[in-house]
């Protein structure tokens, strides 16, 4: 987490981060936006997964973190709703947590009603595909994402963050030929996104006091 944006050689407005930088930045930014640390860990997982899949991790996570605080889902058999729009992070986490429960995907397809930033639940459904060891399909608006255990997503239509959508998640029977994970593992974002994530991340830090700085180093000097 650098406070100054890392420079990019190719495009002055484009920044490439390593996956561990993406993870660390998302973790702190999510906590800085007021989520619990355990949820921040899950957001970091989602950012890294989206980045590896070549999807818009920064735009998606920022839309959630800067947006209104949406609702956790109320899981019920077949249909998950809430009093308003569903928080994609909490919905994604719950989809994985409820995997083997009667309300979860192992029992029947699940429709999540009015999910904000629906792309953000895809990494959690991918985890679900792993834990159930089954292919899963995710649909919303004109998007369709096929997920095989351990594989990158096969995407049809447009998965851009956009508007809230009703998302259907269902186990599939047929296995498909899937793409390979890319060799290069770099995540791209623009300067403004980096600035926004960093600003959120800095909300987890504490201003230095004379006492804390004094205690952090050696008692003597280093010219010995």
């Amino acid at each position: 987490m650098n406070k100054t944006a890392p420079a990019s050689v190719a495009d002055p407005d484009s920044i490439f981060l390593s996956l561990s930088e993406i993870s660390s930045l998302t973790y702190r930014a999510t906590r800085g936006a007021g989520y619990e640390w355990g949820e921040a860990d899950e957001a970091a997982f989602a950012s890294v997964w989206l980045s590896r899949a070549g999807l818009d991790w920064a735009g998606t996570i920022l839309a959630m973190l800067w947006g209104a605080r949406e609702h956790p889902p109320l899981p019920a058999r077949g249909r998950w709703t809430a009093a308003g729009q569903l928080c994609p992070l909490r919905t994604g986490i719950a989809l994985a947590d409820f995997a083997h429960l009667p309300e979860g995907l192992s029992a029947q397809p699940v429709e999540c009603v009015a999910v904000a930033q629906p792309l953000l639940i895809v990494p959690f459904v991918a985890r679900l595909a792993n834990s159930l060891d089954r292919p899963i399909r995710v649909f919303w608006t004109d998007a369709e994402v096929c997920l095989e255990p351990g594989q990158p997503p096969l995407i049809g239509g447009s998965v851009d963050a956009g508007k809230p959508a009703d998302v259907t998640i269902a186990c599939a029977d047929t296995r498909l030929a899937m793409p390979m994970w890319p060799q290069s593992h770099r995540g791209e974002l623009c300067n403004a996104q980096y600035g926004d994530l960093t600003a959120l991340a800095l909300r987890t830090t504490v201003p230095t006091s004379i006492r804390s700085q004094a205690g952090a180093g050696a008692a003597g000097g280093d010219n010995d």
Binding site: S20, W37, P72, P75, R90, H100, G215, D222, N223, D224
Partner: protein, 559 residues
């Protein structure tokens, strides 16, 4: 052997130490380097695979400023340490992470860098955190001179004399690294990208290689400067003096959170060491050759303890315990220990449990492993970790099952009274200006609302309290939907059920926490010696001291 089986009964279970003993911070803070430490693993591999070493670039001016490249070539790939030597004014020399200039800066390059790579690195590596490296780099680091010894060695060598061996052993190194970043930091390659290479499978191998070459660089640099000053009169360091030099490291709280944030990795490191100890203890007999190896290791350890210098009261106490304990051990081994009895190593270990202080018991672990390479070295491959399972929470586990796990594995977490000031006196945080981990006093300093989640004991105690209010058959998934603040604790408890060594079993926010104990545990796994605290949260150590240089294991370092 399959690493996953290590947590099962492999015939050594009867000889295993319980996690409740091993994972106490006092004992972790008495850890000693051993043959399964990461730098030893690196050196063994390079010897076994006959790696070759050369120095394709050596371009230093009369002030010692310029660049040097060292290259290690293995069976499939090569790695190059690119070194930039600077002329640093004394007033800028600081080992803290807040420093902005150093005597030398380094990057470990994946392969052989061309001129464009070197120019790119020259524009970034000297800036360290303010620069940017790429996925071609595996580590980024810097080092400062140990000024007094550095100048003394140049003085003497330039006059055609060897430096004073007492000064060499007192300092132990010519340069000390003040940070070695790997695993994707500042744009470097992710761990993920290299983890499947056999030579990078074990933890921190890239970082250890970087530090090993840094040691060589420090020697080459003083010999270069002595030649500049003394001309034909100058001599090179003798083999004995060179061997006595390691490379130093100066470090603070930055490395402490790692052990808490990587519970699977911590579990695997400790499990491997404990399995290795159990294997040795389970041996029915001790051959003469193995006993001779043990005796030699004990002699070395006594000498190392004699030379181990510190002025910090905490460490002086530990050193006294170590020296006294090793004395007792040597006497017992010489006069009492029956090497012909069945299970002689177990007998020795059993004796140590009541006769030796913790500090010397942990030294004995390293000594018992030392002559048993064939028995334990293969375990090194189990020290890496796929950390993905940390996210695989079992939401269908019910409240009573989770509570049973807490009772079984987290009694240590439920003991403190976290509402009492002494048991919640500290908080871990990241500083705003330098982004470095620090430890604050909760009731005396502002900022505890931004605390890092390293208070595992307190989190688990809070989860335990929340579970008491739940119906016993309530699934964890539903609890977390209502109370997401317990997610971290649920993950830890579930993960620990099959990983007994995943948690430091002490209160990490207690008033009497000794943060340097966490540092020593991690540094011992690196292979660090001469642990020398400069405060309760800042320490200097030495790496590779007494171990070979590239030209000693791979033929001459060619130009």
């Amino acid at each position: 052997m399959i690493c996953a089986d290590l947590d099962q009964d492999t015939g050594t279970a009867a000889y295993r130490r319980p996690a409740s003993e091993v994972m106490r911070l006092e004992r972790l803070g008495s850890a000693h380097p051993m043959r399964l430490s990461f730098l030893r693993i690196l050196l063994r591999r390079m010897v076994d695979e006959k790696w070759r070493f050369d120095r394709p670039v050596f371009d230093l001016d009369e002030r010692g400023v310029g660049r040097v490249v060292y290259r290690a070539t293995g069976p499939e790939r090569c790695y190059s340490l690119v070194c930039f030597a600077h002329d640093l004014p004394a007033e800028l020399r600081s080992d803290r992470v807040i420093a902005t200039a150093w005597d030398a800066t380094f990057a470990l390059f994946d392969g052989t860098p061309d001129d464009a790579d070197l120019d790119r690195l020259a524009a970034n590596v000297p800036l360290q955190e303010a620069g940017r490296v790429s996925c071609r780099e595996l580590s980024l680091s810097r080092a400062n001179r140990s000024v007094r010894l550095f100048d003394h060695v140049i003085d003497k060598l330039s006059l055609g004399m060897q430096p004073d061996i007492e000064q060499i052993t007192a300092a132990g190194y010519l340069m000390r690294t003040t940070a070695v970043y790997g695993s994707g930091k500042f744009g470097a390659a992710d761990r993920h990208a290299i983890a499947e290479r056999p030579e990078m499978l074990c933890p921190f191998q890239a970082e250890m290689l970087s530090v090993w070459f840094t040691r060589l660089f420090s020697v080459d640099l003083v010999e270069h400067l002595a030649r500049i000053r003394g001309g034909d009169k100058a001599v090179r360091l003798s083999t004995v003096n060179r061997r006595a030099l390691g490379v130093g490291n100066s470090t603070g709280l930055g490395m402490a959170p790692f052990l808490v944030r990587h519970p699977i990795l911590l579990n695997n490191w400790i499990m491997v060491r404990e399995e290795a100890l159990a294997r040795v203890r389970s041996q029915l007999s001790a051959s003469a050759q193995v006993c001779a190896g043990f005796d030699a290791a004990l002699t070395d350890a006594i000498e190392n303890a004699r030379l181990w210098h510190s002025e910090h009261p905490l460490q002086l106490e530990k050193l006294a315990a170590l020296r006294g304990g090793l004395g007792l051990l040597a006497e017992h081994v010489r006069t009492v220990w029956d090497r012909q009895q069945d299970h002689p190593w177990n007998a020795l270990w059993r004796w140590s449990e009541t006769a030796l202080p913790v500090e010397a018991q942990e030294a004995l672990v390293a000594l018992m492993l030392e002559p048993h390479g064939e028995l334990v070295d293969g375990l090194a491959q189990c020290m890496a970790a796929d950390e993905a399972p940390a996210g695989d929470l079992d939401g269908s586990m019910n409240a009573s099952e989770l509570q049973a796990l807490i009772s079984a594995h987290y009694d240590w977490a439920l003991r403190p009274d976290y509402s009492a000031a002494a048991d919640s006196a500290r908080f871990w945080y990241v500083s705003e200006d330098k982004l470095e981990p620090r430890l604050g006093e909760r009731y005396e300093e502002p900022g505890s609302e931004r605390e890092l989640p390293l208070d595992i004991g307190r989190q688990v105690a809070a989860l335990d309290a929340a579970l008491k209010d739940c119906p016993p058959d309530m699934p964890v998934a539903r609890l977390l939907l209502q109370k997401p603040e317990h997610r971290n604790a649920v993950c830890r408890v579930q993960l620990s059920a099959r990983r007994p060594f995943a948690e430091i079993r002490d209160n990490l926010i207690s008033a009497d926490l000794m943060p340097i104990d966490m540092l020593r545990c991690k540094l011992a796994f690196f292979g660090a010696t001469r642990f020398d605290p400069r405060s309760d949260r800042w320490v200097r150590i030495s790496l590779f001291q007494g171990l070979p240089y590239p030209d000693e294991i791979g033929g001459q370092v060619t130009e």
